[in-house]
């Protein structure tokens, strides 16, 4: 494409492989998600969830295709309007709106309740924040090593969205977004000595917030001693382990799981991996993990070949978002991490998240389309002068 920073003469083979692999993994996870959603919900609600998820998936694929076709650089223009919309929605979700448009569910203000569907503004917030960070890194890339522009200002931007998500409250998304933004800044060149203090401060603040909150504190305790709390706060984690554990190598067979009968709460959303483990066994759970690893590798591969810093930063942010969210979810299901309410990307039931995730994948494809051939700097400056000898 003429006029671009590093024009690509042809779409390189390696990039093709990366994009195809990425698409394959996402499609496989989506398909697995559909099958498991039906398996886990058919005994109780019938095909309702599956139909809803199919509709959301269709919408998400449409968005994905749109994002792919579109040049991601157009995003730069709408970063700030989107940021403001996200903040407004995050504020609105906190106040009681007429007609029961917002409602406290399970002690949290996270959803807009529309007829038939529930929307989570925090999903939009996630994307808006990643876009804003990418825009900022692109704009101020030469000053990222300084304290003010490298740490203070980005932290301010982050605080706006993350703070609102925190008071919803949604601890899982808070940690997720803090991690993603931190990684983006780090890659953008912020110095260790600047990034460590705010991370420590953030962790202390978070720890303090948990310390003061008896509910979260109990959750942490139940994570440490699952067996003792298996009938109380640790119930979900324990039941999830029962499901995973009884699966063994090959699982009980599709549809044969018992834990989906209501034993594992949220078995079709956040804890769907436990049902996968129970019915399809370690082989499939490992494949899921591998699929996410491949997605992350492909995402970083694509990002590294982005034609500009915005694309690089955006690609990394998106990849971390998918990877970290999957990591936290799988960690929670296996009780390696304390309980958080985060869905498993592409698999868990939930429209807002599926839309956001597919939009992310679309953006990665868009970055890949604009990608350039990476020229590794020659380790031997004279190597280029060597004339290959014909055999």
């Amino acid at each position: 494409m003429p006029g671009h920073l590093s024009p690509v003469s042809a779409f390189p083979l390696e990039m093709k492989v990366a994009v195809t692999t990425l698409a394959f993994c996402v499609a496989a996870l989506l398909a697995l998600g559909m099958v498991m959603l039906y398996s886990s919900s058919m005994t109780q609600v019938g095909p309702h969830y599956l139909l809803m998820q199919l509709i959301w998936c269709a919408l998400g694929l449409a968005i994905c295709v749109t994002a792919t076709v579109m040049d991601y650089r157009h995003l730069k223009k709408i970063v700030w309007p989107m940021f403001i919309v996200a903040i407004v929605l995050l504020l609105l979700v906190l106040v009681p709106l007429p007609h029961g448009l917002t409602k406290k569910i399970n002690g949290a203000h996270r959803w807009f309740i529309l007829p038939g569907i529930r929307l989570q503004p925090s999903e939009l917030g996630k994307l808006a924040l990643i876009f804003a960070m990418a825009w900022y890194v692109d704009r101020h890339q030469r000053f990222m090593h300084t304290w003010e522009r490298g740490v203070a200002v980005p932290c301010g931007i982050m605080a706006l969205i993350i703070g609102l998500i925190f008071i919803e409250p949604d601890r899982g998304t808070t940690i997720l977004m803090a991690g993603v933004c931190g990684a983006m800044l780090l890659i953008a060149g912020v110095r260790w000595k600047y990034i460590v203090p705010p991370v420590i401060a953030g962790m202390l603040a978070f720890a303090f917030a948990i310390w003061r909150d008896p509910i979260r504190m109990r959750r942490i305790m139940s994570w440490i001693e699952v067996e003792e709390h298996k009938n109380g706060t640790g119930y979900q984690a324990y039941q999830s382990m029962l499901a995973l554990g009884s699966g063994g190598w090959l699982g009980l067979g599709l549809g044969n799981g018992r834990q989906k009968l209501g034993w594992v709460p949220e078995h079709h959303t956040d804890f769907i991996l436990s049902i996968i483990g129970e019915e399809l066994g370690l082989v499939t759970t490992l494949l899921v993990v591998v699929a996410f690893v491949v997605i992350v590798v492909c995402g970083i591969y694509i990002s590294l070949r982005a034609p500009d810093t915005f694309g690089f930063s955006l690609g990394c942010g998106i990849t971390f978002l998918i990877g970290l969210q999957a990591f936290i979810n799988i960690g929670v299901v296996t009780s390696a991490l304390p309980n958080k309410g985060l869905p498993l990307p592409f698999i868990s039931y939930g429209g807002s998240n599926l839309l956001a995730m597919l939009a992310c994948v679309g953006l990665l494809f868009s970055i890949a389309r604009q990608g350039r051939v990476l020229q590794p700097p020659p380790s031997n400056p004279f190597a280029a002068e060597e004339i290959p000898q014909p055999a």
């Binding site: 009884s246 009968l261 690893v293």
Partner: protein
């Protein structure tokens, strides 16, 4: 790959990030490995205890048959209508939401809120405390089930009231099991249910077995009865293993009790998968129940019915007595009647008030098995043994003994034992053994019984007859050595310190008839498997097991047998007028034991007999409580039984006595 080349470069940030990602990956893989492979067995077993319930499936109880294969106790299907509770769980929740207390408030809103479309009417649900919530939930469940029952009742045309306590108990303890709402459904109701109700409501017809006794009262005591029991078998400790047990029949008395485990068979098991609320999700039968064995009795139903009818016709509908008919050669019990009875079908189905009253009547004692389970004074029938003992000890049969007249009643005899007078019902005069037995002369038998060593031999005979062993009383040889003569005299006429059952007397009579063999009474011929292939061989109980020999020479037995024949044939015999079966020579002995209970004299009247005299086949023992006399009360009953015994056997049995529909 170029991606990894990037890491080789000196990009610290990227390296750290890559390290963090790898670490995270290792954590996940380790977590999955730990949960899914290392601990899989523990988790799997915890899961099974959590979501599986085992249900014990009772086996079909074996039949009880008579010697000719007629069914005396049968297991038949009855139908119950049960509700599936799991299908109501949504309705329960809905009803609970409807019942929840609501507060509707109409606020006056500031104008801007009106513009923004805020609703002035607000409905809130006040929080309930735990007890209120539990109570309300029960209320909701009861309402839903009650509605379902009304609906079902309307379709079946049967009112179905909800027993709240029973429902609550069922729900609390057996949520995974269907809730039975109507037991023993009749045919019309089944038709109505299948026609209209089965699809529209979460209910099903459940098959349950019921124990049926087609000959109700006639076989009541020998068969015994069963009750449905929920408790486990304490021997196998089943209770600990099963989550739920379907009720099983448990034999309480008679054959049903004695062969309970054989009749019961082996219970099967099914596994129910439940969800987290305890409702049933699916079920599989893991091991089917194994039907119990059939018990084939030695009983001949024709004789049994005849004996029962004889007792009823000759003595009365509430006659308190017993009849035992025994094959004198094999020990087979052909009839075992105890009266009065209560219909054993009524026990399984539940009593009517009249039946309950009859059951509770202590004097009637319908639950007493008078043939084998109650003990009585033997009275004069025991004189046969005293006679045998005396003969064996050298008594001459034709030796005469003079009975003194009673000074107060000259037509009756009296015996002076030291300073004690013993009244006799026989007239004074000269007696030889034969006459003494025929007239049943107390004085004579006390006299010969007190002769040296005779009483010891009487005790020895009782011992050989196994009297007082499992039931009843009989003095032991070492006990009687220092007994006063009075006690001995009492035993010589079958009273005092001895009690016997009609069954023991039947064994004694059979021993007289078969030249001294003390047989093991045989009530059960064989245990047969219900297996239709017939490959399992039946367990056959041996015939004619001899427990002991009386040890009396046949010539002495012949003397007593002749005397017993005279009892029914001699004009002077106590049974002469009453026991008269044309074409059959019956040897018999009457007896009347007097017993004073609270100043009232109660008679136990007896008639022991065997026939035919020439070649004895059957022993018939009749006992009636509080009868007039042995001959008058019991004799005709025995005569009727003998008539049945010699009647041609081709006559079919009238099986209309069945007490069920």
């Amino acid at each position: 790959m170029i991606f990894f080349d990037q890491l080789k470069k000196n990009d610290t940030q990227l390296r750290m990030l890559a390290a963090a990602i790898s670490l995270g990956l290792i954590v996940l893989l380790a977590g999955l490995w730990w949960v899914q492979i290392v601990n899989t067995r523990d988790f799997r077993s915890s899961l099974e205890t959590q979501s599986f319930r085992t249900v014990r499936l009772p086996a079909v109880r074996g039949k009880i048959l008579d010697r000719n294969g007629l069914v005396l106790a049968d297991t038949r299907a009855t139908y119950n209508i049960s509700l599936f509770l799991e299908d109501f769980s949504r309705a329960f929740q809905k009803e609970f939401k409807r019942l929840r207390p609501k507060v509707t408030v109409t606020n006056s809103l500031p104008f801007w809120k009106n513009w923004l479309g805020f609703d002035a009417v607000k409905t809130t649900f006040p929080k309930l405390n735990a007890t209120q919530e539990v109570a309300l939930k029960w209320e909701a469940r009861c309402n839903v089930v009650n509605q379902a029952l009304q609906h079902l009742g309307a379709q079946l045309n049967t009112p179905l009231p909800l027993d709240r306590d029973r429902f609550k108990k069922h729900f609390a303890t057996q949520t995974a099991m269907p809730y039975p709402v109507l037991r023993a459904v009749n045919r019309t109701q089944i038709a109505r249910f299948e026609e209209s109700a089965s699809g529209s409501i979460a209910a099903e017809l459940e098959i349950q077995t019921a124990r049926v006794y087609p000959f109700s009262n006639a076989t009541a005591h020998v068969l015994g009865y069963v009750v449905r029991k929920n408790e486990g078998d304490s021997v196998t400790n089943e209770q600990a293993y099963y989550s739920y047990r379907l009720p099983d029949f448990s034999g309480m008395t008679g054959i049903e009790k004695k062969y309970d485990s054989e009749l019961r068979g082996a219970a099967g098991e099914k596994t129910v998968v439940i969800n987290n609320l305890g409702y049933r999700q699916s079920e599989t039968v893991s091991s089917p129940a194994e039907a119990g064995q059939n018990v084939v009795l030695t009983l001949d139903l024709r004789i049994q019915l005849a004996a029962e009818r004889a007792l009823r016709n000759r003595v009365g509908p509430n006659a308190r007595g017993a009849v035992v008919v025994m094959d004198v050669n094999s020990g087979d019990v052909l009839a075992l009647v105890s009266s009065p009875t209560i219909d054993p079908n009524a026990i399984t189905r539940g009593f009517t008030p009249a039946e309950k009253q009859r059951w509770d009547d202590e004097e009637l004692g319908v639950h007493k098995n008078r043939a084998t389970g109650e003990q009585y004074q033997a009275g004069s029938i025991f004189k046969t043994m005293v006679a045998l003992a005396a003969l064996e000890n050298g008594l001459k049969a034709n030796e005469l003994f003079r009975v003194q007249p009673n000074p107060h009643n000259p037509s009756r005899g009296i015996y002076y034992l030291g300073s004690t007078m013993i009244h006799d019902t026989a007239p004074p005069g000269d007696y030889d053994l034969r006459r003494a037995l025929v007239v049943s002369c107390n004085t004579y038998f006390i006299n010969i019984g007190l002769r040296s060593n005779v009483f010891e031999r009487v005790v020895e005979l009782g011992h050989r007859l196994h009297l007082g062993e499992s039931i009843g009383h009989f003095p032991k040889p070492e006990m009687v050595r220092h007994w006063p003569a009075g006690e001995k005299a009492n035993v010589c006429i079958g009273q005092g310190q001895m009690d016997v059952t009609p069954m023991q007397m039947a064994v004694m009579t059979a021993a007289l008839a078969n030249w001294g063999k003390v047989l093991q009474p045989r009530r059960v011929d064989r245990l047969e498997s219900q297996d239709p292939t017939g490959l399992v061989p039946p367990t056959i109980f041996p015939k004619g097991v001899v427990r002991d020999q009386l040890g009396i020479q046949p010539k002495y037995l012949q003397i007593v047998r002749d005397a017993m024949l005279a009892e029914t044939e001699d004009p002077e015999g106590t049974g002469h007028r009453y026991v008269n079966v044309p074409g059959l020579k019956i040897c018999g002995k009457t007896g009347t034991a007097e017993r004073s209970v609270k100043g009232v004299t109660l008679n136990t009247t007896w008639f022991i007999s065997f026939a035919p005299y020439e070649n004895p086949r059957h022993a018939v023992v009749v006992m009636v409580e509080n009868g007039a006399s042995g001959g008058k009360t019991c004799g005709p009953v025995a005569a009727d039984v003998y008539s049945a015994l010699i009647a041609p056997t081709s006559q079919p049995v009238n099986a209309t006595v069945a007490g069920n529909n």
